[in-house]
């Protein structure tokens, strides 16, 4: 598979997150999805240690339902967001699945301030037709052990 296809997929996902296109973003995920944002460190055991996000498919659907409901106060008004995806490396290439590492930097503007979020994403992408589904995504925030503000958008 050409790497440009992987790049294209990650850029597409980034645009959907930036533009709060929740349903389209949800469609990128597999049925056995796992969306994980560890807390305090990058390699914690989620069975013993709290996470910032640990969503299976059901929880992911609930996350999107809530964000879409219009009831999330931190989305009133909606933040403006743009992120850069870079340093893309395909670290494992199976016959039907890829593991891709990338870095991101995200600007979030709301309420008179701009926040900068940064981290590394690990995508496990499963080939499907001429594109991919996200089987698992882990987001390693550089701030995962700091006092952070609300994270009420897609990362």
């Amino acid at each position: 598979m050409p790497d440009s296809q992987v790049e294209h997929f990650l850029y597409h996902e980034a645009r959907l997150m930036d533009e709060s296109r929740y349903e389209e973003w949800l469609d990128l995920w597999s049925e056995d999805a796992l969306y994980w944002v560890p807390c305090n460190d990058d390699d914690i055991d989620p069975a013993r240690h709290v996470s910032i996000i640990y969503d299976d498919r059901e929880r992911l659907v609930q996350r999107v339902d809530r964000l879409k409901s219009g009831s999330v106060l931190a989305q009133q008004p909606k933040p403006r967001m743009r992120r850069l995806i870079s340093n893309i490396e395909i670290v494992e290439r199976g016959s039907a699945q890829l593991t891709v590492h990338s870095n991101f930097i995200l600007g979030v503007a709301r309420g008179g301030t701009q926040q900068i979020w940064a981290g590394r994403s690990i995508h496990e992408l499963r080939s499907q037709g001429d594109s991919f589904k996200i089987a698992r995504k882990t987001v390693l925030l550089i701030e995962n052990d700091q006092e952070i503000p609300l994270l009420q958008f897609l990362i």
């Binding site: 807390c39 240690h49 609930q62 106060l73 994270l151």
Partner: protein, 424 residues
């Protein structure tokens, strides 16, 4: 000096209490450096040498179990020229070595020797230069509290009537013990610290307004429908406890249990509770919500976790969410508690972020001076006051918030702590 007495008038409090930097400065001396403040739980430092770095008000401290097994709290400050002796957030250490000039202390706090000691006068006694311990440290059911002030009421007296509810929370564990080595979700918000206890303890009133969608998702997921709490105002739930403590006591607020068949782990957990507490109490523990508890000034016990409120400035606060595991409960129950916690709490949760957004907006709105007073009068006409000074109200009443402010006003009006004296 601020006359706090004028700013707290029964069912109304003045907005400057959340906004005035001189109120915050006074709080440091009158509250944070005077009363008992929660610093950590015994399960965080099980072995000799285990330590965690914490703060009391703005003062950095180390909570450590010494080589002798004894738990101590030290000011995190070298006796040489005042640098921080411990910069790690947690760990295990036989000794703390100040990075600046290498002065090294045992984990019992004793100075081993000043470095290049030949340059010091023979009269220098290293016994005079140990890490400075907090003058008072005590614990209740593994919860460790310390006080910067050498004098004051005992911890037992401070906790008073809230101990009964801490016990109830701990009873959820089949061994009566908890484990909080679960990591800490750390948040910051641009608002006063007092919003956190107030908001955390009145979810029955604000729930239907800001948590409606999350509550619906939660009841769909767990089978527990909490909406009955605010549809039918339930008497005798909200408690104000002398000492500024607040409790939501749900023992009389039965909630329809899930219709679904309990999992094998849930059945094993229920059996373990029955063995320890008997069938009647076990049934009560399993069919009601554990009490929500606020211990003045910085500790909250809320459903899945211990929450610690850390003031930073008059309009900035850190808050730490630390999930509680039940020792000797089946693994599946504890994993379920973690996943339940992440659903509700933390920066990306479905419930607490709406609270935090509300607190930040509250901080902004309180700069409006058209009418400076906040009204906390719900249920005042039907307050049930008990002989010990507690009061009991309906689920949405504000009697506990009035009790918090009465206590706050009393503590803030007492003579301030004597400034620390020069010398060892």
């Amino acid at each position: 000096m601020i006359d706090v007495g004028n700013l707290i008038q029964g069912t109304r409090i003045h907005g400057s209490l959340y906004r005035d930097p001189s109120v915050f400065a006074r709080e440091l001396d009158a509250i944070w450096y005077k009363v008992w403040v929660y610093v950590g739980h015994e399960s965080e430092i099980p072995r000799p040498g285990d330590f965690v770095r914490r703060a009391i008000g703005l003062q950095p401290v180390i909570l450590v179990r010494g080589a002798d097994g004894k738990i101590r709290v030290f000011f995190n400050r070298c006796r040489h020229r005042g640098n921080m002796v411990c910069h790690l957030e947690h760990g295990n250490a036989a000794a703390f070595r100040c990075p600046y000039h290498g002065w090294t202390y045992t984990n019992n706090g004793a100075l081993i020797e000043p470095t290049f000691s030949e340059g010091y006068d023979a009269g220098l006694r290293k016994e005079d230069f140990g890490l400075t311990p907090l003058p008072r440290v005590d614990s209740y059911r593994g919860l460790i509290f310390a006080s910067v002030s050498p004098e004051g009421i005992s911890l037992d007296e401070h906790l008073g009537g809230v101990k009964e509810f801490i016990d109830l929370f701990m009873d959820l564990s089949p061994s009566g013990e908890i484990d909080v080595r679960t990591g800490i979700q750390k948040l910051r918000y641009a608002g006063n610290w007092k919003f956190m206890p107030e908001n955390s303890m009145e979810g029955d009133y604000h729930g239907p307004f800001i948590h409606k969608v999350a509550f619906a998702l939660h009841s769909k997921r767990t089978g527990f429908d909490v909406s009955s709490l605010y549809k039918n105002e339930i008497p005798d739930v909200i408690r104000s406890i002398p000492g500024g403590h607040m409790v939501e006591d749900y023992r009389k607020a039965t909630i329809e249990p899930p219709k679904r068949e309990p999992s094998p782990a849930r059945q094993a957990y229920a059996a373990a509770l029955e063995r320890r507490y008997g069938p009647q109490k076990a049934a009560q523990l399993l069919t009601t919500i554990a009490p929500l508890i606020y211990v003045f000034p910085n500790l909250l016990y809320l459903m899945t976790h211990i929450r610690v409120v850390q003031p930073v400035s008059v309009d900035e606060t850190y808050v730490y969410y630390q999930p509680v595991l039940l020792k000797d409960a089946p693994d599946e129950i504890n994993v379920g508690r973690l996943r339940d916690h992440e659903f509700m709490f933390g920066a990306a949760g479905f419930i607490s972020p709406d609270d935090i957004e509300i607190m930040e907006r509250n901080q902004i709105a309180l700069h409006a001076a058209g009418n400076e007073w906040l009204f906390i009068g719900r249920g005042a006409h039907r307050d049930k006051v008990l002989p010990d000074g507690s009061s009991i109200g309906h689920t949405m009443d504000e009697n506990h918030i009035r009790g918090f402010w009465q206590h706050y006003g009393r503590v803030m009006s007492l003579p301030a702590r004597e400034p620390a004296r020069a010398g060892a």
